[in-house]
Symmetry: C2
Subunit: 525 residues, 2 copies
């Protein structure tokens, strides 16, 4: 494929602005061709207006045909062949196998949403029949269902160039809901984004979707994203990235004359609690699993375990030592881009200089240019409470072990946690029952509780929740992975005494789509 | 009942601050006793901390027992007898019968939420079974459900002192979800609020709920509300009131170090479209219904029809004349309080002085002190487009008739509408089918579409939606009336490989609560 570096605006291309930037191969430390054009204000405006113009037509398309479109996206993605994987690997330093696994995730979530909208019950259709004879006032016939909100702005994540970017759950769930999408391509993988976007365009043409439902704009400056979120025709936005970036755009969304929901997933510290029974039984296995989770993807997961808590004693000391050895054996690897590497290096330098923080493990091999070595620090519960910055995520293969004196200290640490995507607890069932207080606190603090496992490697399914209280996300009710993600892009619309034939099919008396509905308070198909 | 004017903080009372204010009888134009104490910062802090402290215990209470608590609130409300109605009437100038109707709404929604949480399927429990043999990676067991978010701040509305205040859907749905509540009492009906709050306290004691789950603070200054929303222990807030007040608190909520969802219902213009067939067949009935809806409750409904659109011609002229006559016959009545009356009077004065706005009807009887006369203005489609302030709500019995030249002008007007709680369309079914384009636009703009009816008088049911795009609300996904309102106060929590006996009962394999669940993608009980 010949990459153009242009904005893809509905069916056409545009490279109006003279400002350009290059994609970079972080492993080779060199620029990649071609140059990408920074989107001009007029191009962003055109993309948003095209999306708004295509919305009514797209929404009217039946769920089954929209599902065909999603399946076509999966097929066209697969048809891109190795080019997608190779460009993603070049732009991110991810191994090819990882890129292939990401593509597999795209196929899974795209097909899952296709099936989900074919099934159709997600629309939460409700019917309360009227009663014209009711006293003292007639009862109206009231029906409602979830309808799409309008054009959605999508910001891909740098760490998943295929699975959480142009082809990610954000784009796919917005399409599934019936919303047009304008993607702001991540400047760290603009070529991968262009390749992926061309698959979406092919699927649009092949299945006859309105052409305005998809655009993609490029930008290295924060301004492009801010302008997109501020655009009056954009109805919602989804973002995966840093806390600073997410919060800044959240503020843009909220300070619009007409605020819109801004769903940001911004990562978290993902604490791991090691209960005594588990450490006694299998400190080796836990240490091995932990080091694997810590260093997976060069530590560049939102679900990276950044804080590990254990109770002082022999088993904990053994775990510390094993984990330190495991970290030492980790060979430094190239990070996604210079910005992330710079922040990681600065964070590590700052931690190394901090008193009260012990270094218990560090990659033995030296890190080359752009590479991250793994680090493992340790402190006590008092040390942690005295230094709240340790509760914050440092993106990369680094974690802090925290020694607690007893169960009360676990609870105290948990109470001070910021919101997190996940918390993991290792223990026997007896351990878990004995630490109910800890679990109760964690239920308030996180989106996902994991028993005897690690948070990395999200299962894509109906039950998964990839969200959590701030700063994990900007709105803890919503997830960015799994079928519940569609709820970010649909809102209830209610029809009162509306003629049956003019109702959306989901609400018509005969239930032509055969979906599960709440009828006069009873769930029925 | 002896009113104290104190803050009710969990089980105790507090009147620490020296600053006080009086409730006022707007009809008699005189103060009512006793004086109410402005909440001090320490009192707000104590209420929020008590709520947070009671949260874990409250959440653990089974849904059935929480439902008993809700039913006890209904019983204790009824047991208050006439005192509640009389005080509400005195503080708001509402007729006693209206106050009784509001109490009836409280009984209905409280019992509806009790039944809803007993049924339990609202928790959206989902199970995806694991598969340890799956290749290349074992599949974890993943389960999730909606859990309560934590303490909720509730701001009552001035226009519904009983039904949308201390005992409103906000408080009841928060309790139903398992969230403690801190009410900021509306300063226009603090006595009604205290009486109602005492019913809640009785229900708490009677059913053995944790005492910290309910507090109420008073304040005439905006500061009390802002401090409550800014309090770190408050997890969400619900508000019904003015756009200015709602937006200000929305900004407080968003600019917290840890932002929280702020669900504000701020009213809207609620356009009414009169299609030709309807006007031809029954202009009299429509005019009568319209004037009734416009002047109901002295025009002080969020769903007041503020804009009426028709196509030029004889039938529309007849409707205009009939509506003008109807408005003239309306006897001015006392508004809720001086603030609302002042804003209404200023808005009317401004409209009377505006060129291009014709006065087609006005109450014949003169308005006394604190009273609102009804007004009906008229303009053309061009006049409306030239003056966007006409799209904004003016709270009170006033509306604007807009003459359009044809269906395209309807669509053009609809496209310029701000978000609205509702839109009403009067017509024959043929009319409606012919104006599909109009309906498509309205689906994007409003929360509820009404055929041959008026938006006032919300039916309390599962299907109702009382929400809509901004400025109708701050988040169009959520409603403040009806059983869907509970979703403002619950978020998904996911359990991965969690031991069955330690899961919430909704997720246990045996489904002990017998709720509808999504199991491996299939809905089952």
């Amino acid at each position: 494929m010949n990459l153009t570096g242009h904005q893809l605006i509905g069916p056409r291309e545009s490279g109006a602005a003279s400002e350009t930037f290059a994609a970079r191969n972080p492993a080779a430390d060199e620029d990649l061709s071609p140059l990408f054009h920074e989107a001009a204000l007029a191009e962003i405006d055109e993309a948003a207006k095209l999306a708004a113009g295509a919305f009514d037509a797209f929404r009217r398309i039946s769920p089954g045909v929209r599902a065909d479109f999603l399946e076509a996206i999966a097929e066209e993605t697969l048809a891109l062949g190795d080019e997608l994987l190779e460009r993603a690997a070049a732009e991110t330093a991810h191994p090819l196998a990882r890129c292939a696994a990401e593509r597999e995730r795209v196929l899974v979530h795209t097909r899952q949403f296709a099936a989900w909208i074919r099934e159709g019950s997600w629309t939460d259709a409700r019917i309360d029949h009227g009663d014209p004879e009711r006293q003292p006032l007639p009862k109206p016939d009231v029906r409602s269902l979830l309808e799409p909100v309008g054009p959605v702005a999508v910001f891909g994540a740098s760490n998943f160039p295929i699975a959480i970017s142009v082809l990610g759950t954000d784009t796919v769930s917005a399409f599934a809901a019936g919303c047009p999408v304008v993607v702001k391509a991540h400047p760290a993988h603009p070529g991968t984004s262009e390749i992926a976007a061309r698959a979406v365009r092919k699927a649009i043409v092949r299945t006859g979707m309105p052409e305005g439902i998809f655009s993609m704009v490029h930008g290295r400056s924060h301004e492009v994203g801010a302008r997109l979120v501020a655009h009056p025709r954009i109805a919602a936005a989804a973002f995966t990235g840093s806390l600073a970036g997410g919060r800044a755009l959240f503020e843009v969304a909220n300070s619009r004359p007409c605020p819109i929901p801004f769903y940001a997933e911004m990562g978290s510290v993902n604490p791991v609690f090691l209960l005594p029974g588990a450490l006694r039984a299998r400190a080796e296995g836990i240490a091995k699993g932990f080091v694997g989770a810590l260093t997976a993807g060069v530590g560049q997961f939102c679900t990276n375990p950044g804080l590990v808590l254990g109770m002082e004693g022999e088993d904990w000391s053994r775990f510390r030592s094993l984990a330190g050895t495991g970290v030492a054996a980790y060979d430094p690897a190239t990070m996604l881009h210079a910005g992330i590497h710079g922040a990681y290096a600065a964070g590590i330098a700052e931690r190394l200089g901090r008193s009260g923080l012990e270094l218990v493990g560090q990659s033995t091999a030296a890190a080359g240019r752009g590479e991250a070595a793994a680090y493992l620090f340790a402190t006590t519960q008092e040390g942690l409470l005295a230094d709240p910055t340790l509760y914050e995520e440092l993106f990369g293969p680094v974690s802090t072990l925290v020694t607690c004196a007893g169960p009360e200290e676990f609870v105290e640490v948990a109470e001070r946690l910021e919101g997190s995507l996940s918390a993991s607890v290792h223990g026997t069932e007896e351990d878990l029952a004995e630490h109910r207080d800890l679990v109760e606190v964690l239920r308030r603090k996180v989106g996902r509780l994991i028993f005897n496992g690690y948070p990395v490697g999200l299962e894509i399914c109906h039950s998964i929740h990839h969200g959590g209280p701030y700063p994990a996300t900007t709105h803890a009710h919503f997830t960015s992975i799994g079928t519940r993600a569609i709820h970010r892009f649909a809102r209830p619309v209610c029809y009162q005494d509306w003629p049956d034939s003019l109702l959306p099919p989901q609400l018509q008396e005969s239930n032509p789509l055969g979906i599960l509905r709440l009828v006069d308070g009873e769930r029925r198909r």
